[in-house]
């Protein structure tokens, strides 16, 4: 590799230019906006205005609680399910592998709007296929949209359906990069498949699992489209309102950019905290 500043930066300039305009400046700018009262013209500097309001805003704590609740339940369930999918898809005993792969990986290409529409229809109270099927096996109908607990469950089911296969693809690739002879040696020593999974696959896969977890947490933390479209703007009565939805409502419905920026920076703070925890979890043992 040669030291060539001019050539390297010529290749990098277009990319860095976009980065500077549409990321670096906005990151700084939204930090500054969060310290301004933005509903007066012109905006004025008022350091405690938005952050003070945030600390006493029940809508913020409701959104924070909902987001964390979805995060804590949905992400582990989905990663575990993705792990099960990846392990089973990797089994040499599996026939018609392509069909199973298609079933689990297909949701990866489905857009948020398209699948939100389908889930909304499938789970509707009287005419939804899910309630009809529940009824036909003798179970009572569930009112997925008017009660908070089923509505939250629905959001988690939808997100898990959409993203489990995506994580399974990453985990599967990670598994296939583990050298075969490790397993061969273990099999010769009569180590059971289950033990092989817990003592070989899982430890070697840890960085990949952490990568999946970080991406999923960051994604789920910004959850917007599903509560926006499936449970109708975070309904019932704010029961599924997330931080992403609160930001949208404050920023783009009430046009209160200062307050919305404070919400955004809260999300960034959470993301940074979570990332640091994950880095600490995967640190190289010294």
């Amino acid at each position: 590799m040669r030291n060539r500043n001019a050539t390297a930066y010529r290749f990098l300039t277009p990319y860095l230019l976009i980065f500077a305009i549409f990321w670096v400046w906005p990151i700084i700018s939204s930090f500054l906006i969060s310290f301004q009262a933005t509903r007066t013209v012109p905006w004025r500097f008022a350091p405690g205005f938005n952050w003070g309001r945030l600390i006493g805003d029940p809508a913020f704590f409701n959104a924070l609680k909902n987001t964390l609740l979805i995060l804590v339940i949905q992400v582990p369930v989905m990663i575990a399910l993705a792990m099960v999918m990846a392990v089973l898809l990797n089994s040499p005993l599996l026939r018609a592998r392509g069909l199973y792969r298609f079933a689990f990986f297909a949701p990866v290409v489905v857009g948020e709007v398209a699948y939100s529409a389908v889930f909304r229809l499938m789970f509707s109270l009287d005419f939804g296929i899910v309630n009809k099927l529940l009824n036909s096996i003798g179970l009572p109908k569930v009112d997925w949209f008017s009660n908070v607990t089923p509505a939250m469950a629905l959001i988690m089911i939808a997100v898990t359906w959409r993203w489990a296969g995506y994580n399974a693809i990453i985990l599967l690739a990670g598994m296939q990069s583990i050298p075969e002879d490790v397993y061969e040696a273990a099999t010769l020593d009569r180590v059971s498949k289950l033990k092989q999974f817990f003592h070989i696959t899982l430890p070697l896969l840890k960085p990949v699992i952490v990568f999946c977890a970080v991406l999923s947490i960051i994604g789920t933390m910004q959850l917007f489209t599903e509560p926006f479209l499936i449970t109708e703007r975070g309904g019932p009565g704010g029961g599924t309102e997330t931080l992403g939805l609160l930001l949208y409502r404050q920023g783009f419905r009430s046009l209160n950019f200062g307050y919305a920026s404070a919400v955004a920076y809260t999300m960034a703070g959470l993301a940074i905290a979570i990332t640091l925890v994950q880095l600490w979890l995967t640190r190289e043992p010294k």
Binding site: Y15, P26, L93, R101, V110, V113, S116, V118, Y248
Partner: protein, 278 residues
């Protein structure tokens, strides 16, 4: 030996007995999307259980087109996604090339920043991006607004950096000895060699643009400038709307992508799995 293979058989049967229902559950929403798109509205909202397609797709599509100009929105979506993909592949592969093949001042800083943005929520840049594009540049409801701000893409650059750094040095050194310029080496040697990786990247980027919702929802909200997902999203939740039509739209957004997925599965999976490889 026979006991061993019968044990394998039992395990194989157990595996399929577990995985088949799970696969069917996973396919169910997609199947129902197709079924709903072929049913008249009074069929969707009837008490019976219908699991097989009917023949009403064209009527549903006409209802959709009556509710919103979906064909126009599809045209915008296709043009935007194609332009975005071409530009983004160009930018990310140029940047990836520089990071993979040259030593330069500030390199580790650039790499660290790109890595850092992966874990930074998009929400942090959303509001200033909107203010800048809509108020300062006055570009709301234009194609430029849809294409340019999302061009920054960190995973794509890391993917291309990795692809280029795996290529052998002597290939490029031989050309340098001949006096070939660096940009010619990049265009005529490196890019053709990276074709499979570029294919994977193209698919991922096209899909990201095709399905993008939040940014287009905010910046292109005027009828006539909406992308297809945004146009479809405006109908969800309206009281007097054809749900069969919405489902026909969902099918039109989804089925072409599923076909691409099946045809180019290997590239697709390579693009997503790139995250797993350090």
């Amino acid at each position: 030996m026979s006991s061993l293979s019968s044990a394998r058989l039992k395990r194989s049967i157990a595996l399929h007995l577990f995985l088949t229902p799970l696969a069917l559950i996973w396919l169910f929403p997609l199947w129902m999307m197709v079924v709903f798109s072929t049913m008249p509205d009074n069929g969707i909202f009837s008490p019976g259980i219908e699991l097989l397609p009917h023949g009403n797709f064209i009527d549903n599509f006409n209802n959709l087109q009556h509710d919103t100009d979906f064909v126009g929105a599809i045209v915008i979506s296709v043009c935007v996604a194609v332009t975005y993909t071409v530009l983004s592949v160009l930018l990310t592969s140029m940047a990836g090339w520089a990071l993979a093949r040259y030593q330069f001042f500030g390199k580790s800083v650039v790499v660290a920043i790109i890595l850092g943005t992966i874990t930074l929520p998009y929400a942090v840049v959303l509001i200033p991006q909107f203010i800048m594009v809509a108020r300062d540049f006055k570009l709301a409801n234009t194609w430029v607004a849809l294409i340019v701000p999302p061009l920054f893409n960190s995973l794509g650059v890391l993917f291309m950096r990795q692809s280029f750094s795996m290529m052998p040095d002597d290939l490029f050194d031989a050309a340098r000895v001949e006096g070939v310029k660096e940009w010619r080496i990049f265009v005529f040697i490196a890019l053709p060699l990276a074709r499979p990786m570029l294919a994977a990247l193209c698919i991922i980027l096209f899909l990201a643009s095709w399905n993008n919702y939040l940014w287009p929802l905010l910046i292109n909200s005027q009828p006539g400038s909406m992308t297809a997902p945004v146009a479809l999203g405006t109908l969800i939740g309206l009281t007097k709307v054809s749900w069969g039509g919405i489902m026909a739209g969902a099918v039109m957004l989804t089925v072409p992508m599923l076909v691409v997925f099946v045809l180019l599965q290997r590239h697709f999976i390579a693009g997503i799995a790139a995250g797993a490889v350090k």
